[in-house]
């Protein structure tokens, strides 16, 4: 084990601990000759420092905690990747927590992150209401931003997609492509993304004169199987839509599968769109038309907001930073 401490190095170099500390953190000028001696001593002993002791003293851990509903959802994987990249660039590290779509687990993860004294928390809350208390409590203890999904906690920053604009892009595209009647498949209304996207769908359907078919809004969850099931129902209906708008790509991929297996041609007889532009959307057949989110920029913004709030401040305005997606046209629409 690495039991080499700063005082071992100090002794070997014949200087004080403080001098070694200064050399290692290049915080203050140190004599050239002394610095060389210290560095050599550190090398010879294989000194690597103790981040725990430093953290206790400086009250900074250079770590950020991230809590997502499911890391297996490719969109969150991308978000995690973007965060890890952004943090790495700043010499920080990421505690990754998967809340398994469970508010209780989520609350526990948040508590644990705070006990570990992370410098900040990025969370995508599982549930509209059930996540609120834990998020609020956490935000009082440590800088916290919400990413993608959000709960209503005054004074908390949020970064995510401009859901209204997202639906506008999709609906306009479908209108241009000749769609007349539409349906919407999404998850249960227990998270913020769903609610806003559905609202946008309704609004733009009305504005653009796209008719929503009977029972044209289907709620399930963000999964391929859920999309598959919803599509079978919609396609079997007498009032079959000629476009199905999906709240995310997983659902859309399920819809595509159902269409294929029930012999409905895409995009000629049915157009399909998703949201997120997960990697596999370009690999399915037909390739999926979807909306790409700028996850790298979102992660950078999340970090920026995290460091702005230097500590226990509250009553901050509660910034809401939304990014417009970009339409990625592929073969599932005309």
């Amino acid at each position: 084990m690495n039991a080499v401490t700063i005082s071992d190095v100090a002794a070997r170099a014949g200087v004080s601990q403080a001098t070694v500390s200064r050399v290692m953190s290049s915080s203050r000028r140190v004599g050239r000759e002394v610095e060389a001696r210290v560095r050599r001593a550190a090398d010879e002993l294989g000194y690597s420092g103790n981040g725990i002791a430093r953290a206790l003293r400086t009250r900074r851990t250079d770590t950020v905690g991230m809590v997502v509903p499911s890391i297996l959802n490719p969109f969150f994987t991308t978000l995690v990747d973007s965060m890890e990249n952004a943090l790495h660039a700043e010499g920080k590290q990421l505690f990754l927590c998967d809340s398994r779509q469970d508010p209780a687990v989520e609350a526990e993860q948040l508590r644990s992150l705070i006990e570990r004294h992370v410098d900040g928390i990025v969370v995508s809350p599982v549930h509209d209401t059930e996540s609120a208390a834990a998020v609020a409590r956490s935000a009082r203890a440590v800088p916290l931003v919400q990413l993608d999904r959000r709960v209503d906690v005054p004074g908390t920053d949020w970064i995510g997609l401009d859901d209204a604009e997202a639906m506008k892009l999709v609906m306009e595209h479908l209108k241009e492509a000749g769609a007349r009647s539409v349906a919407f498949v999404t998850s249960e209304l227990t998270n913020s993304s769903t609610a806003l996207r559905l609202e946008g769908f309704r609004r733009w359907a009305a504005d653009l004169g796209l008719r929503i078919v009977d029972d044209g809004v289907v709620l399930g969850d963000f999964s391929v199987d859920s999309g598959d099931e919803a599509a079978r129902r919609l396609l079997a209906s007498p009032d079959r839509p000629d476009a199905i708008v999906c709240a995310d790509d997983l659902i859309a991929i399920g819809v595509l599968r159902a269409a294929r297996e029930t012999g409905v041609a895409v995009p000629s007889a049915l157009q399909v769109t998703g949201v997120d532009d997960i990697v596999f959307s370009s690999y399915v057949t037909p390739a999926l038309t979807t909306l790409a989110q700028p996850t790298d920029r979102m992660a950078a913004e999340a970090l920026r907001l995290l460091s702005l709030r230097g500590g226990a401040d509250e009553g901050g305005a509660g910034a809401r930073v939304s990014f417009a997606p970009t339409l990625v046209r592929r073969q599932s629409t005309r």
Copy 2:
């Protein structure tokens, strides 16, 4: 900020810090009445403990670092998920590091994890040789196991797939399904998985009398595009194989795409297999026959090996625990 310390609680409860500590960690019996008083004081103050201070004192952080070549590769995503699950069950947390396929980044991540005094490290080394030094150095400082990929570092434990058995399963399946000539698409030979799978492919091709076509081993990387490209070459050759064995599912999905786009029917004219059973393998058309890895069991085993080696021990035997995959038959083979 949460500035409530153990001595605040002690003062409020009218006891010593030691007693509060005992109550919080339920380490020793404490009088019933005193315990109640302490708990109440802690609640009232919103005391949550300081994991950093505790870690400094106990020399345990209850954290594990994990370094993977790319978290965007769905197989590693699954592995990370399995590890996160296993750790969560033990009240530990995961530092996630993505080495971006770069040995230099990997070395830096490892160094950083050690400085943060993680209790253990799980690493899937990027490169056969270039990762070796950093892995060896790290293993000297902290309990370390290799997962999936490995470098040759004596005395280091490894958990992964039984690659020979894997290839055996695939090849026997193809033989039964009537394949005669085969090709193998994999990544460059700079990681352990590739080398072993190729070796297994060659051996079982010979044993089962499956002919390897001319230029029948194609090296690229673990990606859809790489598989696509390799397949176009193989399918254009005069000596076209009637089965393409792929070293992972991403490659196989690329092969399927190339086959579709060049009008080669799968599985009737060409059979295709992958390895890993990533989620999307069941969603492509035709669904991919592949090998499933027991990632949950692997993660559990990794943790077990981590805690066995209680500290600075070395000269351990260097356990190699390999798990047999299971064949998942789908539509890309007959």
